[in-house]
Symmetry: C2
Amino acid sequence: MDSQDFAKTFLPEVTVDVVLLSIRSDGSLVTLLAQRDEEPFKDTWALPGVFVGRDETLDAAAARALRTKAAIVGDVFVEQLFTFGDLNRDPRGRIVSVAYYALVPEGRFATAVARNKDAVIARIDASATDDGIAVRNEAGKALKLGFDHGRIIGMALQRIRGKLNYAPIGFELLADEFTLFELQHIHEAVLGRKLNKDSFRRKMLASGLIEDTGQRRSGTAYRPAALYCFKKAER
Amino acid sequence: MDSQDFAKTFLPEVTVDVVLLSIRSDGSLVTLLAQRDEEPFKDTWALPGVFVGRDETLDAAAARALRTKAAIVGDVFVEQLFTFGDLNRDPRGRIVSVAYYALVPEGRFATAVARNKDAVIARIDASATDDGIAVRNEAGKALKLGFDHGRIIGMALQRIRGKLNYAPIGFELLADEFTLFELQHIHEAVLGRKLNKDSFRRKMLASGLIEDTGQRRSGTAYRPAALYCFKKAER
DNA sequence: CAACATATATGCTAGATGTAGATATGTCAA
DNA sequence: TTGACATATCTACATCTAGCATATATGTTG
């Protein structure tokens, strides 16, 4: 980029949008959407997002979007996803959006939604494509998405599916202590298919990423499963 | 992103920088850098990049950077890499850069460099880290990189390494016809380690991605290897 | 025509994964 | 107290893949 280009350029707005993902114990993959109360896309649902501030990094803007638009505070797994720069993605003008995704356990997700009267839980249909995705509310009714946010959510799902093969992102979606079968359910929800129970157990135990806490999952009507936790040092 | 945010925002510049990657027959991984003849970072080497135009998508800006700053025309494999938005990455002001990477065969890379008197071939040291990377010219002298471009190149290398596991990007770096051993050399250069010849052959033949052209690589002083090509339909 | 260098094919071994069955351990009801 | 029950956990075995060694094939070169 040369200085001589400066005169010819213009100044697009830059926003950050965040796909907050969680997996519920029934196996459904969910994200948090906020209802738009103004044009454009009034009365549709959109991802939490903010304009990037003058002295704010992109990562900081993502954290602010989570804090102010999704009531998520404290440590969260957040990672940059993709940058969307189509010409007419926002009717207000040329806006480039840097998309992020975040992963939280079910409990934190529920708390965040409860604190936000404008927010809704959106179930993500497992058949994600590159072109976008359909979301439904808890009653099963389709939610109309604003902007190109369907495409952003679809890309977030693709990303975590790929990431599961080489990174321990399943742990980000679980509480501190969990059984192996619960971890398996997380993987199945992300991948959208069933996994072999014994193979999964073997691979996880051999991975060295988890350790037995010595505790058991109580309150079951059958043999309780051992509770494991994520080895912090290995992280 | 709400309309009420508009007043509070400012307008950062948005640029696109492209890491043009190729692999030479000696196994070296190379990229094209342009000498900066102005401040900031005068007399250092930088990636080809342009400011994003008013009516230009990010992908189109990347194509323009390749065309005008790297003399690369026509079809190329180009993909978005990551967006860099640190506060002081450019001393001229707040500039957000959307990085792309492109893959071309050795021949096209050499032609592009030859057409550009400001351009230089930069060999990439295989020991890439997330923090950046060192590059050297053909004489082995270290090239000083401007901006955060060392970090961008490092991330490009990480990306293609990961991508090699599930996508046939090796073909983007080769001519239309190639021997299996030549394809293996590409993979070895990307991964930075030797591969087992027989296993590689078996896996490639079983992948269904390539087909025998019936031709042989002539001009060798030993048994000529079969030439394969990439199955277009499967792509 | 034989030496040579590399391509190509084949068989063996170790590790990872899918599957089936056996065993362990908690709750619950009689 | 005891046995049925459901799930957790373990063990054995088949299958598949990658790495490795060896044997064979096919060009060039003297």
